[in-house]
Symmetry: D2
Subunit: 267 residues, 4 copies
């Protein structure tokens, strides 16, 4: 006879908002533009815990993820999981029949690789981006999503340029954009990435032949930007294009300092 300690009453009667599993790495399959891709994302999945129960049944959360990804559902994957948020919602749907809850969240963190054309030689360069998607089921049954992208670019200091006859300092910068929206809003991670990448002094590329490197250098000098300028441009574009709550954070790894500079804002 197995004891279900989780169902007992706890000493301290306090509801908890988020209880579950984190830092779980598992294979995920996404049908992206008609082709099934495999990823190995990091998952977090949580539900609320009412005041009168001691704990949740953690293994059922794991099962919701692994079953949503199993071979048995490969056909379903072909049809349905054409985005990370659909995958997240498929996990919550499975969870509904396994574990009672009022609120649930699934977070999926992975990398995307997007092919780009280099600016002069026209070669294909494969660019990596960090993305994270959260799907949240609220107590009233409505669904929200949180989409995050993290893009590597650069800043070119306009202040140093103005004071040094066109010479300046340049550095890698990292732009992060988050949009929180209703689940049904049409928001593509790829478009969010474009918004961030196009707001730096120049986009960056994995592959650059000398003619491409020259084009990037020219573009950087024609387009000097403070970290503040990059944050403003991402924010303005994101507000125009995406219907949701927007958060922007840009960090510049200064080449003249040992510390970083930061610009951040949100709607």
């Amino acid at each position: 006879m197995l004891v279900e300690t989780q169902e007992e009453a706890p000493k301290i009667r306090e509801p908890l908002r988020r209880v579950g599993i984190t830092n779980l790495r598992i294979i995920a399959k996404i049908n992206w533009k008609g082709k099934v891709y495999t990823f190995i994302p990091v998952f977090e999945i949580t539900i609320d815990l009412p005041a009168e129960k001691k704990g949740i049944h953690m293994s059922r959360l794991v099962e919701s993820i692994t079953e949503a990804m199993s071979e048995a559902v490969e056909e379903e994957v072909m049809e349905a999981h054409s985005s990370l948020e659909e995958l997240g919602r498929a996990v919550i749907r499975r969870l509904e029949s396994k574990h009672p809850h009022r609120r649930a969240e699934v977070w999926i963190k992975t990398h995307l690789i997007i092919p780009r054309e280099t600016p002069a030689s026209g070669k294909t360069s494969y660019e990596p981006y960090d993305v994270e998607v959260g799907v949240i089921k609220n107590e009233d049954g409505t669904f929200e999503k949180v989409l995050r992208v993290r893009v590597i670019g650069n800043t070119v200091c306009p202040h140093a340029m103005a004071n040094n006859n066109g010479k300046t300092h340049i550095q890698r910068a990292i732009g992060e954009l988050e949009v929180r929206a209703g689940y049904d809003e049409k928001i593509e991670l790829e478009e969010m990435i474009d918004v961030v990448e196009s707001s730096f002094s120049s986009p960056t590329y994995t592959l650059l032949k000398t003619v491409d490197e020259n084009a990037v250098v020219q573009r950087m000098f024609e387009n000097p930007k403070f970290v503040e300028d990059v944050a403003r441009e991402i924010f303005a574009k994101a507000k125009e294009r995406f219907n949701g709550k927007i958060h922007v954070r840009v960090i510049s790894n200064e080449s003249i300092h040992k510390h970083d500079v930061i610009a951040e804002t949100w709607s």
Copy 2:
């Protein structure tokens, strides 16, 4: 003639909430119980940027920190900086005469070492804790603070214990407590650490002779706790003792899984 590009009008007229310096490591001196200690914390300092200015003057933020820590103020340190939040406020005070702003934040992240008595041999064990303090000056001139502690403890699974005649699985767990309060609230980091450390199955110690290790093991088996139990106990104690907005997060590095489990709640 130097150009002040920061004072120009930006192309995109959008105010920014937080612009400044991050990941800056610098020596700080604190007068703790009558003795001056040196730390090497990591600082973040930001101010708001109005829509009509292109950028902030970053070097003035650095000066505010370094001047607040300079030899010249050692006497003042002896009197005044008896806590990390007083240090943060001293930085903001210096910033006021250097750079116009409506809002300002200073964040200081460091380690504290606190001596503890071991449970059986009575030896002194020096325990390390991660702490972070934020001081926020709001637009109306009021000050708030955010205090964070991160404590390493353990969980002992009551469910496995009930199903295995007293045998169970045990693991390291990490408890995080944040309190956001008015600047003048009396909240000691040491007391926040105590709240977290006393909520695990047992506190942990850097130094444990065999008799102490036995005492810890006995205590762990007498005090089995889910990650949910630990989070509830921290939350209940913190609400009772501290006047502010409270956030609790506990992560348990399961010894039977490769992933972690999490319990989180906030007021």
Copy 3:
């Protein structure tokens, strides 16, 4: 007319052993047991630089990787890249026609997911492992490889068990095994993972129903081990099975301390 600064003579005539690209994330395809899988590993690729040349042509290293992974070679992938080291060698082969060098290294860091059967319910649990493969072309044209696995398990203290009537402390532990061997040695990453995973007090599982959790707890208590015992067992098994230079490192995230303990040895 483009200048090739790399071909100029440097001021300081000193050969360098390893020059290249690191922290490059790109899609890789592996034919694993007849099926093509996609990964997004992190690559490092370096070559030596002779004393009389100022620099290497970095973009050719990137091209060697991207071409080895391009759609055009999908058929070749089906036949050839049935392991990470074959992929590494394919990159070096492409590099040979692109950039002169005497020595070359390719390092590929990724995750593997391996299905396991849970100990009591017989369910399938998908287990994640960190792996890294290095392929090294020496100056004499011979090839070596370095294979690394990182496995999450646990330790159960036999000393506390002997002093507390069977009660003890338990914690997550991380075992790392590296084998450096001639390129043609048959060494499977999966077998290396098995060597490490079977040397803990118990293997760990992503999915554990209560009956499985009980089996793991029982196994842990029957099999107490110091971090030293785990390191010795991995080392002894690895020496018996793998023909190469062996390095073992085990870290135990103690549940009674805030620090870790370590045991390490090598042949």
Copy 4:
């Protein structure tokens, strides 16, 4: 009656080279130029374990560290621990009377803050550096030390400069220098830091007024360097100044790419 499981014979008779404690954070006091400073470094301390003993007594390693740092020895600190390596040796000396061993290692990782004069305004800027010191007692009783510094600087691409009429890309770079030497060799961490910092296109500063920023920008454009040039210069200077085995690694966080470039060599 306490059982000493550590003294028992292990199942697998295999000596281990390094057994001990890692990631231990504790207060250290150093008498630096006549003044006692406190640090909170991370320690690792290991000894060898002979084939016939099951384990080591971990708590004695902790005691060797805490006793070497206790109030009781403050006077001794004033006289003796005028460097991190003297502190490491003091820990090993204490360990000798506590735990038999043939080989011992102590590793201490911390930050140093060094005041610098800014290049134009002559202000004082406090610069942070990561340092690590290892003290190794060999089986024959001789002592060695390993000194490591990590310095943040920059690279300015000479290839892009030659192809773009003086325009180029610039980025943060990180230089690491390790010297392994006999314990009695006179090698200052500060001098090692100078060797690395002076080998970049320009040193970096925490505090830069506009005139200083201009001086740094001018210096960067007069002094373009590949990551290969930086590595060669560090290596050449270090070989000339320090008597020991030298290892150099430079990583450049490219502003035109999402990946890093690397140059590494050793004697």
